[in-house]
Point group: D2
Chain length 334, copies 4
């Protein structure tokens, strides 16, 4: 960590800061320039409160030289992580297609979609049972019943299931869920007991609307520091001033995360854009920039079918897309 002091700082104030840093067990290397003095902190700075130091009156700015994330950092684990879900692998050249409806609605619906997306080449089934909603008056999902219907669809189709968990108290219900999806803040609220096998099931960690890549990686770090290294990262759009799509899909995050971490990275073009007609081009773009997989909404609902539908594709549109994704992958993996 580098601390850049303001121009003309008083000697005694600087010494006060240096002593305080040394008392925290850090070495301090002082370089005095003609305009500014720079302190280089030596030792384990991961617990140092950068914001606190940065806000001191004598400090101009602070810069981390080493990243605050360790478990998920490619510097320390150069080889790609491969997450395995049953026979399905994600990462390090293993591309994974995840598909299914926004919400689980009925046994007929989820089973029909599961079989359709399997036929089109999907390797996992997604579907919302517990739904985070902005409004308390909106449909909150079928909850436990939705989980049961996902289990039925898994049995019929053989596809592993991916679904969102919102609160720690629901953990027991999710024991046999193949991949638990979580938002980045949720990771901090979970009890993450080390060493218990049942929690070693893979986590699909979605980037928050206002998350920097570093913050997303720190959320992964919470899970990994708790003993679970099976983390899949998911880019799903950030909040910007832009108003034509629901969020702004930040695809450059894919190659950037590839550089920063060894974890697999997938893209969710359905939630990012909120528009079915943008799912195909953005899914192809996600594959082209090197993602390890795609999570896409597929429906079989006559209402959707009638009007070209929402952010979800029809099964036949998904099948055609999946074929083109394979061809793009051949160029990229080439």
């Amino acid at each position: 960590m580098i601390v850049i002091l303001k121009h003309g700082v008083q000697q005694e104030k600087m010494e006060g800061l240096v002593n305080w840093l040394k008392n925290q067990g850090l070495g301090v290397h002082i370089s005095e320039g003609s305009f500014q003095t720079v302190l280089g902190l030596i030792g384990d700075t991961s617990a140092v409160d950068m914001d606190l130091i940065g806000s001191l009156g004598i400090v101009d700015s602070v810069k981390r030289v080493s990243d605050p994330f360790k478990c998920c950092n490619r510097k320390f684990h150069p080889a790609d992580t491969v997450v395995q879900v049953g026979d399905v692998k994600i990462g390090s050249g293993n591309f994974c297609m995840i598909a299914g409806p926004c919400s689980v609605e009925s046994e007929e619906q989820i089973v029909e979609i599961a079989l359709a997306v399997k036929k089109a080449g999907a390797q996992m089934l997604r579907g919302g049972a517990f739904k985070p909603r902005t409004s308390p008056y909106e449909f909150q999902g079928l909850k436990a019943t939705g989980l049961d219907l996902l289990r039925v669809a898994r049995k019929v189709s053989g596809l592993p299931i991916v679904t969102e968990i919102m609160a720690a108290k629901d953990l027991p219900r999710f024991e046999d869920v193949d991949v638990r999806q979580v938002g980045p803040r949720t990771t901090q609220n979970f009890d993450l007991p080390r060493g218990r096998g049942r929690l070693r099931k893979p986590i699909l960690l979605k980037r928050g609307l206002a998350n920097t890549l570093k913050e997303l990686l720190m959320s992964a770090e919470y899970i990994m520091a708790g003993g679970n290294e099976q983390v899949i990262l998911c880019e799903r759009g950030i909040r910007t001033f832009d108003d034509y799509t629901r969020n702004t899909l930040d695809l450059a995050a894919v190659p950037m995360l590839r550089e920063l971490t060894h974890l697999p990275i997938i893209v969710d073009p359905s939630h990012a854009t909120g528009l079915a007609r943008l799912v195909r081009p953005m899914a192809l773009a996600g594959a082209a920039c090197g993602a390890d997989g795609l999570i896409i909404e597929v429906h079989n609902d006559p209402m959707h079918a009638l009007c070209d539908g929402a952010q979800s594709l029809r099964p036949e549109e998904y099948a055609s897309l999946a074929e083109d994704v394979r061809r793009i992958r051949e160029v990229v993996a080439g």
Copy 2:
């Protein structure tokens, strides 16, 4: 709700949509213009999925005419809500000063600060016990011990206490906390049993970094629909491209929220800016634009004292600020 169809939509697709809407119990008023057709939906549209309709292939855009929030909506409750905490009132002309350290660190610290801010005119004591942190390696707060120390400080100073709760499982520990502070997503994860008196304690609801005002109000709606109408809203900065302060304090949110809701609105200049030297001007600005209170960090730590300190004010700086806030209030309250 108004649904604007695309130019040149096929008659049968439009009829399909109209029938689907009618099947959901809504009246539909169709106005055909020369360029576009507009559907006016009549009835209770609060559960209608605006994103779903907006994403249909034949729909240009959707606009809510009535707000989706009810309990917190000034249209339905024109009179200001006054939240009462012991003898302290917030809202409808009752201005409230809340102060205290970022984290509770020791009995000596929290008691000393409590007495100092009380002397300066603060009416409530804040202090973090359970701390949400970006990094799993950073200090997570003294947790239950921190709560106990807050109780000691409350007893000594007589000030009600305000502190953050992060997870539903901690609710029993917070039963006697005077004001529970929560983030907007957290409100969705809580069990909000109707009719249980102990949950009727006031909530300080902080705006999320990426929350629109409507989203903040929908979070308040979650709490109020659960039976607790004692909600205080808090503007604490949003995430923008701007990089000089930690977040961008959005003070126009104060008069805008005043128009939209009857709930009290306070401002947190300490967390918004992250810089002690900006707390005073932004606190005065918050009072000037009509906030119902200010929550401000105050410390007594020699490290902070040494270097003018972080985002926290020294007790004597706080006392001087509190005096000027009172004078600004006289101008504003007329």
Copy 3:
């Protein structure tokens, strides 16, 4: 245009607004709902000041039903525009590769790069002569000399040239420039004389850092309303809170603009990311989501070569990328 009035508006205030609107030559259709009254404005509303009406005390919100852009609107010109530059075509299935250095530095440099990118398959040469810089102390480009060197490179390579014009006073110097690049604000400051052939040369219009798609299209509208229909749009990243890349490349803008306008749309992955190692994946993604072309920085500078270089690719990296772009195009154009 639809004007949604606030709940409980006084009859006489509403009538005042309706009369004022009628005096502007508009028809007004009034629908009174149980909660709100909605005015539908009939006639040419393109000159109506939406912000003014929206800010009136009795108005809840205003919504355009018809788009304010006409010349560039696909609704009125369904067929794709093809921009032609010498023998090179852009749009409607004609994909165009533009490449060259950030700045023109010397005859040797620009000629060498021109020949290299031509060999790799580029159809146009880019290079900065007049450079917009944040700082007055930074290199502002070779200006008129830079233009002359571009002309030399054009003669030697046969490639048409693309370069930025910043001020109206420089127009005479740019008469024989094949494609003039402009920023969106600049288009408002130009004199756009109608009917003069020399101004009918193609314009490459770059999206501003804070431009919505509608604003970008309104800038195109300025040029087209001035008589020049040869406009190429360019997505080059927007400003967000994200801090790993210079800007956030908003690739969903490509299919979205495709829907809104008939103009060709290209992508600039070099300026958007600012990092050479992200240019390849983002260029492939741009091709995959349906762009009509790519503008990419290529250098031959030993400093860049030494260190893998800046946001520019080496000629051999560009050649390899160009080949893969062709293969992606085959999948997409299917």
Copy 4:
């Protein structure tokens, strides 16, 4: 400037970079840490291209230690600048009220408003003659005629006039305009001849929607490096995800700019919010956080009067606001 190299950089690549930097006349101080190597650049780094170095393959990040702005930097000019316009002073405790209509519409209008705002205590008259508009179909202002009407209003009222100039070609027409208002990008397109007295007239420099504070200061630097030190900065809202007000007024920019520069700083609550009913609270907040002045829209238009009007205040509202601003100033100036 500090250059932080990536972990495990090859010795010869590092030496290549060091030699290249030395060839540019810079001293290089190398500190090798256990994880990373840091280069400290010594000498005049203001012309060094930080983005170029930051994007090199072997570089982790780059940080300026000294600011790239000099003329407007408080470090080098600790005393506040006072800009003088006739008898009116702005800065260093001199508070200035600027008011007038959005657009100049007629002699009657501008004269009536000029006299009304003068009576209410305004010291300068604003009014748009050349208007930047998003749409080519919207009213572009009365242009030269508008300037003439402003001159009439100046003569009648005695108030100096402030109005926007958009293009360098209009400079001759603006010779006798007391304060020329410009956007930040415009400053780069002007010819800024050194040493010509007529250009030494004060400039009101508005922050761009997507400008960081550093970028705003670099725009001021362009003007000052051209020989004109009479610059007034203006905060007028930034573009964020927030959608209730037109822009997000970033009031913390006021005390932050105060620290960074000696130039006066004013606030424009009218354009920032776009809503007349927010102008009063945000103007008071601007005064409370230490601005040197306020620029506010005032109208006398019956349409506005009818409906409480747009982003403009009525003269009597402005008079009441001006009185409260004076009282807030007494508290702040203490």
